[in-house]
């Protein structure tokens, strides 16, 4: 900036560059505040708040009624779990399309275990669901990490295979609420401190995964692999192991989501969870995780899941016709991706400019 005197915009621009290039100059508090305020997560959270606010103004019972607060928190629990696992996989520059089928399989397994082995403790059933989910996720992971086939293709294949297993196993059978013990179904209705138990479970998983990604070597290596897979190999990172863990985690969380599904709805048919994988991908993308990996957080993905579920409930209240509801969700996804490209291109340009000036 040699040719112009400092105009306000120029000053603003300069401050922007400093924030980007020299965050260490700021005090730790300043840094935290700018990071949070400027984060993608914050902007999605604001959209979520705006949607809830708009719906509540139109129909106050959207938020302020006995059941609606519970629904607001309980309905997203399943998608929140799936989005958490999906975010980890997408951060490594892969995708897991099989999660909907894994959910269906473990949801049916949950019901089946209660029917066939009455008296089995609830915790054993939950563990079984998670273990089966992990195994199914590992199959994806092995095929991707060792077969070197794109995850999109592998998990598209296992999406059909896993669903086929449920269809064959369940046939036209249906697990009903009567088949499951009351203690298990209470999980779906109980609240602690006015937060539904199932939501608490989802939030706990989210917290653990988020903490791992931020503070563990493994978590950082997942980001590195997604940021540049070739560089990860040259760095000597154990890429295979990280991919296996990412897919195993996604499977485990989807398995847990299957158990949660059974507890929440009380009935499980062979079509449980159909199409959920695309909602999970959508939530992750809306939540600011780059579709080519390397950046984004599970927190964003979780807020994306909340937004996706909430918007589906809010749009009818706002009087938007059925057809347009889906279009709004679509616009949200495309908007998120476009925003992502624009922001990252802008940031790249600024970072380059800043280096050339110094």
């Amino acid at each position: 900036m040699s040719d112009t005197s400092m105009r306000p915009e120029a000053e603003q621009h300069h401050a922007d560059l400093e924030r980007l290039v020299e965050p260490s100059r700021q005090s730790p508090l300043q840094r935290t505040v700018t990071t949070v305020v400027r984060s993608r997560e914050m902007s999605i959270l604001l959209v979520l708040v705006a949607v809830v606010a708009a719906a509540t103004i139109k129909t106050p019972s959207f938020l302020f009624s006995e059941n609606s607060w519970r629904d607001l928190l309980l309905t997203p629990a399943i998608l929140l779990l799936l989005a958490t696992g999906q975010a980890v996989v997408i951060i490594t520059r892969n995708v897991d399309l099989s999660v909907g089928s894994v959910l269906g399989l473990t949801a049916y397994l949950t019901g089946r275990l209660f029917v066939d082995m009455p008296g089995l403790p609830v915790i054993a059933v939950i563990v079984a669901g998670v273990l089966v989910g992990t195994a199914l996720g590992l199959v994806n992971g092995v095929l991707v990490a060792f077969g070197k086939v794109p995850a999109l293709v592998i998990t598209l294949g296992t999406l059909y295979v896993y669903r086929g297993v449920v269809l064959t196993w369940a046939g036209s059978n249906r697990i009903n609420a009567d088949d499951m013990p009351a203690g298990f179904l209470r999980l779906g209705t109980r609240s602690i401190l006015s937060i539904p138990v199932l939501t608490l479970i989802a939030l706990l998983v989210l917290a653990v995964v988020g903490y791992y990604l931020y503070t563990a070597r493994g978590g950082r290596e997942m980001y590195a692999i997604g940021s540049d897979p070739d560089a990860a190999v040259l760095y000597g990172l154990n890429v295979r192991r990280r991919l296996l863990s990412a897919f195993a985690l996604s499977g485990a969380v989807a398995g847990l989501a299957g158990v949660v599904y059974a507890a929440r709805y009380g009935t499980v048919s062979s079509s449980a969870g159909t199409g959920m994988e695309l909602q999970a991908v959508a939530a992750v993308v809306i939540g600011g995780v780059a579709i080519f990996g390397g950046s984004g957080t599970v927190w964003g993905a979780a807020i994306g899941a909340m937004l996706l579920v909430t918007i589906n409930r809010a749009l009818p209240i706002l009087g938007i016709p059925d057809f347009w509801q889906r279009a709004v969700v679509g616009a949200l996804i495309i908007g998120a991706i476009v925003l992502d490209r624009v922001l990252s291109a802008r940031q790249a340009r600024k970072l380059i400019e800043a280096r050339e000036q110094s």
Binding site: L20, V21, E22, P23, S24, R25, R31, Y214, T215, A216, R217, R220, E221, Y223, A224, G226, S227, D228, D230, A231, A232, V233, L234, Y235, G236, L237, N238, A290, G294, S295, Q347, A348, K350, L351, I352, A354, R355, E356, S358
Partner: protein, 504 residues
């Protein structure tokens, strides 16, 4: 430091490595003592990078000895070579653009707190310390995205220092650095040497080799040639060791009548890539574009053809300005462009020869929007025949052909558009010696028929043997325009290694 008589930090003997039919190394060797800086020099394609990658664990040698501090080793991964204390800084640094500079330095071996969590405070502090020691001002918290090559190299060096590497290999680290940055790098390199570490320094700049290094090993055509003490050798001796062969008979360039200027490039500039590039190419002329890898030759060609953007300047074909950033306009104006990596950019390897050849003129061949295989074969036939492409039939899959024949198919493909100008990047890379001369003869013939040709080549003998005129690029600027009669390895190399500002 190890005592006298102890084994060398690195020793390679009679190392061979082939990639399919292409022999990259036939009998390469080097011996690097601790506490010394060892230069490795050789022409582009002499096998230096392959040798480095074997040491780094990226490739495995086919045969030969590989000793590290006297012990025979055989790395199967980069993780193993790292654990053994080898750090390599590649020509193109490897970074994770989304992650912070500090994370880039410590990835995979971050300091941990008692609870096995990342110790970010310790990481930032150590990064800060490293940068201070290296004398650079980079914020450890900024993302790696947007760093210049010089900065990225500093990060790589910081990584190597924090690894406490015994052996540090730098592959052309100064290619993208300014004078100040080079001085800084050298100061760091000397201080590392004085700590008893061994350094291998690959460079094309002889002044740097003489300023920095203790020993020099010369390679040629994948083989060891000689090792000298730097203070006992001279630039002339090194150049003759590097080139060391007759070039004339390998490259059958027949003189052709030079006509009107076909291509005129004026003041072409793309910030940070190349600056103020002006040249012209006449009908019947082969212009060689020489320079080191990364000097900006391919980038200039890509901008002229309209693949890449440029900020200012003009490209004129036969007196008419060609629209910028529009390869279709360039093709209409009569340009043809054969990129360096033909498998990736010039040839549909999974398609038949006929389809490849007919690909660019599909529009003309199609009748009512429908393209028949027969029309494709009819159009492709004469070309493939003329180029002596050895394929049993035109419907043979291009992927199964040899590199030389693939290159001819790509050339045929573009000749079918009836171009006035052919830009060809590394025409014989990865092609065996026999077929090389066929490609050369073809280019020479085409020039004889009045085609203007721009040939980018890293192989000095090829440039000297084929070009009527040699343009030399150094750090994004044209530094010399040498007619055929005056072009020698020395003049070209000199221009390629001396940026303009340094010479005035």
């Amino acid at each position: 430091m190890t005592s006298a008589g102890a084994s060398a930090t690195l020793e390679l003997r009679e190392v061979a490595k082939a990639f399919g039919p292409v022999v990259a190394l036939s009998s390469a060797g080097i011996r690097v003592e601790p506490g010394s800086i060892h230069a490795l020099v050789g022409e582009n394609g002499a096998g230096k990078s392959t040798l480095i990658k074997i040491v780094a664990g990226v490739h495995r040698r086919d045969s030969g000895d590989f000793l590290l501090e006297g012990e025979s080793v055989d790395f199967t991964s980069t993780a193993e070579s790292k654990a053994a204390g080898v750090a390599v800084i590649y020509q193109e640094p490897t970074m994770f653009p989304d992650l912070s500079v500090t994370e880039n330095i410590f990835m995979g071996r971050q300091p941990l707190t008692a609870g096995r969590r990342l110790d970010r405070a310790a990481m930032y502090a150590e990064a800060e310390e490293l940068f201070t020691r290296l004398g650079v001002h980079i914020d450890p918290r900024r993302p790696a995205l947007g760093l210049s090559i010089a900065d990225q190299q500093i990060i790589e060096i910081a990584k190597a220092i924090s690894l406490d590497a015994r052996l540090l290999i730098m592959d052309e680290p100064t290619a993208a650095l300014s004078g100040v940055e080079v001085d800084r790098l050298f100061a760091v390199a000397r201080s590392l040497r004085d700590e008893g570490r061994a350094l291998v320094f690959i460079s094309h700049r002889f002044d740097e080799v003489f300023a920095l290094c203790d020993m020099v090993t010369v390679m040629r055509d994948g083989a060891y040639v000689a090792t000298h003490r730097v203070d006992e050798t001279s630039v002339e001796e090194m150049v003759s060791l590097m080139v060391g062969r007759e070039v004339a008979d390998l490259f059958p360039k027949t003189p052709a009548a030079v006509g009107e200027a076909v291509l005129e490039v004026a003041g072409l500039t793309s910030t940070g890539v190349f600056h103020d590039v002006s040249f012209d190419v006449r009908a019947g002329e082969i212009v060689g574009l020489a320079g080191l890898v990364g000097a900006g030759r391919s980038e200039i060609a890509r901008a002229v053809f309209g693949v890449d953007r440029y900020d200012s300047g003009t490209v004129t074909m036969n007196g008419r300005t060609v629209a910028a950033h529009d390869p279709r306009a360039a093709i209409r104006a009569g340009m043809a462009f054969i990129p360096e990596d033909r498998r990736k950019q010039g040839l549909v390897t999974d398609a038949s020869v006929a389809r490849n050849v007919a690909g660019v003129i599909r529009g003309k061949l199609a009748k009512g929007g429908i393209l028949t295989q027969r029309a494709e074969s009819r159009a492709a036939g004469p070309w493939a025949g003329r180029l002596e492409v050895k394929t049993a039939a035109l419907d043979m899959n291009a992927a199964t052909m040899s590199g030389g024949n693939q290159q001819k198919v790509v050339i045929a493909k573009w000749l079918a558009t009836d171009p006035k100008l052919l830009i060809i990047d590394e025409p014989t890379r990865g092609i065996d010696v026999g077929t090389k001369s066929e490609v050369h003869r073809l280019l020479s013939e085409l020039a004889g028929e009045g085609l203007a040709i721009v040939m980018i080549s890293s192989e000095l003998p090829e440039v000297l043997g084929m070009a009527d005129r040699v343009l030399v690029v150094c750090e994004g600027r044209l530094t010399a325009d040498i007619p055929r009669g005056e072009a020698t390895p020395e003049t070209v190399m000199h221009a390629a290694t001396h940026p303009l500002e340094a010479r005035t």
